[in-house]
Amino acid sequence: MSITKQVTALAVGLGLVTLSACGSQDGGSASPTASKTVTLVSHDSWAVSKGVLAAFEKQSGYKVRVLKDGDAGQAVNKAILTKDNPQGDVFFGVDNTLLSRALDNGLFQSYEVKDADAILPAYRTDADKHRVTPIDTGDICVNYDKAWFSEHKLTPPASFDDLVKPAYKNLLVTENASTSSPGLGFLLGSAAKYGDEGWAGYWTKLKANGVKVVDGWEQAYNEEFSGSAGGKKAKADRPLVVSYASSPPAEVIFADPKPTAAPTGVAAGTCFRQVEYAGLLSNARNSAGGKALLDFLVGRTFQEDMPLNMFVYPVREGAKVPAEFTAYGPQAKDPETMDPAKIAEHRDQWVKSWTSLVLK
């Protein structure tokens, strides 16, 4: 009897202490200086030169806090689930393949950036509501290991059609379309190429030709692909990988000493164009700061800083691209594209069919 009473008293006391502790912590986080801080929520690939960001902070008077919240898909999903009480003010990193998910769930509020006219027309979208602003673009393409192909005296594949030829059997590694953004991009590229009905037949052939599927880009590129620095170390054995058109310049820029030519190349006829957007989060606490940050993201300084940090192309007209970028990884001339509305309509069904077709 007595023991239980005592334990109860002790426990309730401890419980109250815990609760009051959390209360005080809550009070602390809602500090009055919050409006001087603007928070950017993004995915793990976000990067910017320190000086460029510092210049923005100095000029605007806002301190930028960056929250990297998992890979692109996860970051979007988490942002949607927490949209009533968002973790930040601006979200960067939703691409055309997932755009509809963000818009349909009301993730963003309208804001037209100051330099909206400077954005290349091809990338503009949601023009009447201005809920998202395009920030960067890139192409998802099959990369090949130059050394491997010259060693085996084989011409590298150049198109979607080539990939199902017997000469390229058991050479390609790609990513899970349901968990990886390049994996999904490659699937959408094949759907754009072969049509709503034809893509499944293409993948049946690709599977018969020995395509290997791994969960994420890191694993595909750094552990399975023989042409990357990581893959060489891991004694990887697949000379074809679904990656980006900007991967070859990365192989040059991050090598020491720098080679005169990229060790990898891009199969020009296998590309799918990706565009990444940013927007002001609904219920953002510091919307003034968020707007300033969005203006900065499409500004010339940031747009020209972007390529070497995130290995993407600018969307701003006339923004300069570094020389090694154009030399080793030119943008695809005629990439496959797909209207975001069409992607929205079919994406989930396609991914489902793809999963049972290729993985099961």
Binding site: M1, S2, I3, T4, K5, Q6, V7, T8, L10, A11, V12, L14, G15, T18, A21, C22, Q25, D26, S29, A30, D44, A47, R65, V66, L67, K68, D69, D71, G73, Q74, N77, K78, I80, L81, T82, D84, N85, Q87, R101, S178, T179, V213, V214, D215, G216, E218, Y221, N222, E223, G230, A234, K235, A236, D348, V351, K352, T355, S356, L359, K360
Partner: protein, 550 residues
């Protein structure tokens, strides 16, 4: 009549806080996320259940989940039962340390376990370098990792009881002419059976709901229900399918726990137990030494080797063995975190201490209520309910927290307390299971005697109960601490990106290519392992006579 009602009232009062805790921080968030998936535009989409279960991909997942759990359980029993015997009956040097060592895997976060196995059986792993054998993306890697993870469950649950069985009963049977096997089968086995059943069910539960191990070692082709829930929620964002799968897992886990509760109750039925110190002796004869050697070898290969590979890799910098990766942990220039990775240690310790506090309070109150002889059926049912968080998808709990606890006065999403609350959910079952046997063993007559001699109720508690319960409380706290430290599934969703815990930081580092990130992940894992091992070694020193169920 009045006494009974009063007893019920006391139980109710004791249970109030645990019930509120579970309602608010478990039932409500889980219900919220399930409802979000099934209740769309004001309509309940219950037809989804049939649709999802009819999907061949999902059925494949269900089948794989069930058979790998069965296979893992069988394999674990096969390898760990001899271990349980050796720990129970043999006395050898370093036994205490070894018992802590075999428990380390159990409290390690599954990401670390997965990584350890990848380092052992994956590309460029030890087996690959020695014999060119790779087991990653095969089911064997998953099964072996499950054995590694759950070895301690069998050794502690079965071995704990085995050590307390009086060996003289078996000897008596042999004197009466039974063969050694017959004596074992007819005397020891029936006494052990409930413990073996309970251990098997726990292993089955843990492997049925396995997440990190399968995610890291399984590749895109193998998925358990738990991994599929994670994919559907976090990657595919099909909350409807995720909700249906959550319900399926709920039913399965509920069934497992119901059976488990039954076996636990049977186990607590009368057995003649003796002090474990009196039953263990040094091995005699060649057979016993061989058995001891075999068990030690299996522990070395299956449990110590993966851990050793982790440690070795944390020191294997490109320039030879060194502390390079550990030094890199103190820098914040990698860009993966906003803080130096080393800060994760501080975060983890703070969160784990808070979580331990909560788990001990809630767990002790629940255990006190469950111990009362006048506790009704309802109260005993709550025992099984407390175990549920062990088997419900952590991702469901994590996302549930994000969407449910968002309105004042329970707007906790920006609060640090969210992480300890989620961790306490998995800590409570351990506290309850550790405290229950000890509390039940306190002899009521001692209290009565003290009271008769004039001690005040406070003094009775301080002089009689506290000394007996204190050690159990410390052990419970230690387990809750270790489990909280390793909690990954829910924490990964609710830990703010700028406040990662150790397991979350390890996973984040592993998700980035490059030697330096990998090395740092190994270094952080090693640190986590050492912290867990120290906590467990301290616990070994505190072991009570009547061991808990873990």
């Amino acid at each position: 009549m009045a006494a009974r009602r009063k007893g019920a009232a006391v139980s109710g009062a004791l249970l109030a806080l645990p019930v509120v805790f579970f309602a608010l921080f478990f039932a409500y968030p889980v219900a919220a996320i399930v409802a979000r998936g099934l209740h769309v535009d004001g309509v309940w989409r219950l037809g989804q259940v049939g649709e999802v279960l009819g999907d061949s991909g999902i059925r494949h997942v269900l089948w794989f989940t069930a058979w790998q759990a069965l296979a893992s359980t069988a394999l674990t029993l096969l390898i760990a039962l001899p271990g349980a015997y050796v720990f129970a009956r043999f006395d050898f040097r370093g036994k205490q340390i070894l018992r802590a060592v075999v428990t380390v895997p159990f409290v390690l976060p599954t990401v670390v376990v997965g990584t350890a196995f990848l380092a052992l059986v994956g590309r460029g792993g030890l087996l690959d370098e020695l014999w060119g054998v790779r087991l990653d993306t095969t089911v064997w890697a998953i099964l072996l990792a499950h054995v590694f993870f759950n070895y301690a469950v069998v050794v502690r649950t079965v071995g704990g009881l085995w050590a307390q069985l009086d060996p003289r009963q078996e000897e008596a049977a042999r004197v009466l002419g039974a063969s050694r096997f017959a004596a074992w089968r007819q005397v020891t086995l029936p006494a052990l059976a409930p413990a073996v059943a309970a251990a098997s069910l726990m292993v089955f539960l843990f492997t049925f709901t396995s997440f990190g191990v399968v995610q890291i070692l399984g590749g895109p082709t193998f998925a358990t229900l738990e991994v599929e829930i994670y994919r559907q929620t976090s990657e595919i964002f099909d909350l409807g399918t995720a909700a249906v799968l959550t319900l399926v897992q709920f039913v399965a886990v509920g069934a497992i726990l119901a059976v488990h509760a039954g076996t636990v109750r049977r186990r607590e039925s009368v057995l003649r137990l003796v002090a474990p110190e009196t039953t263990a002796r040094r091995p005699r004869g060649r057979g016993q030494w061989a058995l001891l050697g075999g068990v030690l070898t299996s522990i070395a290969v299956l449990l110590v080797l993966p851990l050793a590979v982790l440690v070795q890799r944390s020191f294997a910098t490109p320039g030879g063995a060194g502390l390079g990766y550990y030094r890199a942990l103190t820098r914040d220039d990698s860009g993966i975190f906003l803080v130096a990775p080393i800060a994760a240690i501080g975060n983890s310790l703070q969160y784990a201490v808070a979580a331990t506090g909560i788990a001990v309070v809630i767990g002790s109150l629940a255990a006190a209520a469950l111990t009362r002889r006048d506790a009704g059926r309802l109260v005993r049912g709550f025992d099984a309910l407390l175990m549920l968080p062990l088997g419900v998808s952590a991702v469901t709990v994590g996302f549930g927290f994000l969407i449910a606890l968002d309105e004042p006065p329970l707007d906790l999403r920006a609060s640090w307390i969210l992480v300890p609350l989620a961790q306490a959910l998995v800590g409570v079952p351990f506290v309850v299971r550790t405290m229950l046997p000890v509390l039940r063993a306190v002899d009521g007559r001692l209290r009565e005697a003290a009271a008769v001699l004039g001690a005040s109720p406070w003094r009775v508690w301080r002089e009689v109960d506290l000394p007996i319960v204190r050690r159990a409380l410390l052990i419970a706290a230690g387990f809750a601490f270790a489990v909280s430290l390793g909690e990954f599934g829910a924490t990964v969703f609710i830990a703010r990106p700028d406040n990662p815990t150790l397991p979350v930081a390890v996973a984040r580092l592993l998700g980035h290519p490059g030697d330096l990130n990998y090395g740092q992940a190994m270094a952080l894992s090693t640190i986590l392992m050492v912290v867990c091992a120290v906590a467990l070694l301290v616990l070994e020193r505190l072991r009570t006579d009547r061991t808990g169920e873990f």
